[in-house]
């Protein structure tokens, strides 16, 4: 053994170990990606034909088509080729609007209070701890609460308003936590700089800190919203309808939403329903992915290097 071996003998062994470890990591990533891709491919290949009324591909091409209706705008039907997602799509849009208008003021307000004004005492810590816990509560529980509070107590009935408010409660903890993170990311030097110019605490927070945190808060909001529109269980629990053949026209209308509609269709026995359900899933996936992309774009565009 020459005197240089101390520099050489460990290299091979370490490279092997690193390779083994990296392989495990690659495997983990592959499992996640392949699963997602398989799901997306499966859904698109079955739902494509119904979504775009293009029956050259997919299962339905083998069935006699008797004047199929446009999927996106038609009402629900007992016939899978005539069933459209119109009312459910409209219901989801109604829900989104209600959730946005209810969540943003409540979520931003709570976050601003907790992050900027709340005294650092046991009560505040207790509230913070429970917010984090609330974010982990099963969504069905929120459905129960929506049924008790909005449907019965407040007398909103099984309406799109009750549904929207239930989803608002569901995502509030997540939105509050994300908004607080956005506020926390604004450096203290900004608060001090504003105060040193003779601004009041309110002016410093509402004219400097909050505007700087808005992109982060909006990102959290969009992610919360995308969770809300994918939820099924709480809406079913609080009494969303499954067969809706009209468009909801007021906040107190009965409604259904895309995930509920899909859940309902997929329970029917005829094979053609699979295509129709898949078309609904594509629409929902498209909505979710574009909202997540929007969140990413907002985050990247406004990301600051303090």
């Amino acid at each position: 053994m020459n005197s240089n071996s101390v520099f050489t003998e460990t290299k091979k062994e370490r490279q092997l170990k690193e390779l083994a470890f990296l392989s495990i990591l690659y495997f983990c990533v592959t499992v996640a990606i392949v699963t997602l891709m398989t799901l997306i491919f499966d859904v698109i290949s079955t739902g494509y034909s119904r979504l775009f009324n293009d029956y050259e591909l997919g299962l339905i091409s083998k069935v006699t088509i008797d004047n199929p209706r446009d999927f996106l705008t038609s009402l629900d039907s007992r016939d899978p080729l005539k069933a459209g997602i119109g009312p459910a799509f409209a219901g989801t849009v109604w829900l989104m609007i209600i959730v946005i208008f209810a969540t943003f003021p409540l979520g931003a307000g709570a976050a601003i209070y907790l992050q900027e004004f709340a005294p650092k005492n046991k009560l505040t810590r207790f509230i913070e701890l429970n917010l984090t816990n609330l974010a982990g509560v099963p969504s069905v529980i929120y459905g129960l609460m929506g049924l008790a509070v909005f449907v019965r107590l407040a007398g909103f009935g099984r309406s799109v308003l009750s549904g929207g408010l239930t989803l608002t409660l569901l995502i509030l903890p997540v939105v509050i936590v994300a908004s607080r993170e956005a506020l926390k990311a604004v450096p203290d030097t900004i608060r001090q700089g504003a105060l040193a110019l003779g601004s009041t605490k309110f002016q410093a927070i509402f004219r400097q800190v909050v505007p700087s945190a808005i992109p982060g808060m909006v990102t959290g909001m969009v992610l919360g919203l995308s969770r809300a529109i994918g939820e099924t269980a709480p809406l079913i629990f609080m009494g969303a309808l499954t067969y809706v053949n009209y468009y909801p026209d007021t906040p107190l209308s009965g409604f259904t939403a895309i995930p509920i509609q899909v859940y309902n269709w997929i329970g029917y026995p005829q094979a053609e329903w699979k295509d129709t359900s898949s078309a609904g899933i594509i629409l929902l996936l498209g909505l979710l992915l574009s909202m997540n992309a929007l969140a990413l774009i907002i985050r990247n565009k406004f990301e600051k290097d303090w």
Binding site: T189, Q192, G193, A196, L197, G198, S199, Q203, P211
Partner: protein, 268 residues
């Protein structure tokens, strides 16, 4: 506005500090400071890290109020008013006594909005454009930014950002400017610009500067206070004022041996 610099007695006092101690909870950061500071002069605070010079300067415009358990004992009189009197509004104190921080902290907005924010919260909204131009000119930044006032302030260089912070501070027309190590994040060229600027600003403002850099203190200041830390009985360190005199005396003929050791580089 100008005062003839003859003897200490004839100068107008800005701050009259008597037996001031600042503590955080049960920890005393700096204690028993008594000193007078003079109008239209640059007073420098020097000393090793942890000697409480930043803590002290932050109690001069009540920025320490923001730290929940900070307490100031003693008297800090500003133009004859005790800043810690019950009736004194800290917001007005900070408006009269501006502050420039260690790290440039422009707001993540346009250059113009950085200046107008202070003007708006202080209801100085007449002639906004003139005030913006005046402040930037006073801070020796106007020529560099006059064509892109709507550019984001974070795109400026560090030295420009710091001059912008000085500009927004003087825009609200304070009497005094506190500077907490304003050049410690800047390179020598940017530092020189700030130092030159201070020599111009001192004609209109009284300036207090905290610095780690003894050469900087000797270059820019008229008066100089040297702080150091002393171990207390419980083993923690508390800052104390060792010597306060005009800068020339301090750097040529200090009366305390500790000061001499520090400025000659044998300690600190």
């Amino acid at each position: 506005m100008k005062t003839e610099l003859t003897t200490k007695k004839e100068l107008d006092h800005v701050f009259t500090v008597r037996d001031v101690s600042v503590s955080y909870g049960d920890f005393t950061a700096v204690k028993n400071v008594s000193m007078d500071m003079f109008k239209n002069n640059i007073t420098a605070f020097i000393g090793p890290s942890g000697c409480g010079k930043s803590t002290l300067i932050r109690s001069f415009n009540r920025m320490n109020d923001l730290i929940p358990n900070a307490a100031v004992n003693g008297e800090i009189n500003y133009q004859g008013i005790n800043l810690y009197d019950e009736e004194v509004d800290p917001v007005q104190v900070r408006r009269r006594i501006g502050m420039v921080f260690q790290k440039p902290n422009p707001f993540p907005k346009s250059i113009r909005e950085n200046i107008t924010f202070g003007l708006k919260v202080n209801n100085m909204t007449d002639n906004l454009d003139d005030r913006v131009e005046k402040a930037l000119t006073q801070a020796a930044l106007w020529d560099e930014v006059k064509n892109d006032l709507d550019k984001n302030a974070l795109d400026l260089s560090g030295g420009q950002q710091q001059r912008l912070c000085i500009a927004r501070t003087i825009a609200v027309e304070p009497d005094t400017i506190l500077m907490d190590e304003p050049c410690s994040a800047l390179d020598p060229v940017a530092t020189k610009k700030i130092e030159d600027l201070m020599q111009i600003l001192v004609k209109d403002f009284s300036i207090l500067i905290v610095t780690h850099n003894m050469q900087q203190a000797s270059r820019v200041s008229n008066y100089c206070a040297f702080f150091t830390t002393k171990a207390t009985d419980d083993g923690r360190r508390t800052g104390e004022l060792v010597e306060y005199s005009d800068t020339k005396t301090m750097f040529t003929n200090p009366s305390e041996s500790l000061t001499e050791e520090y400025i000659s580089g044998r300690f600190g």
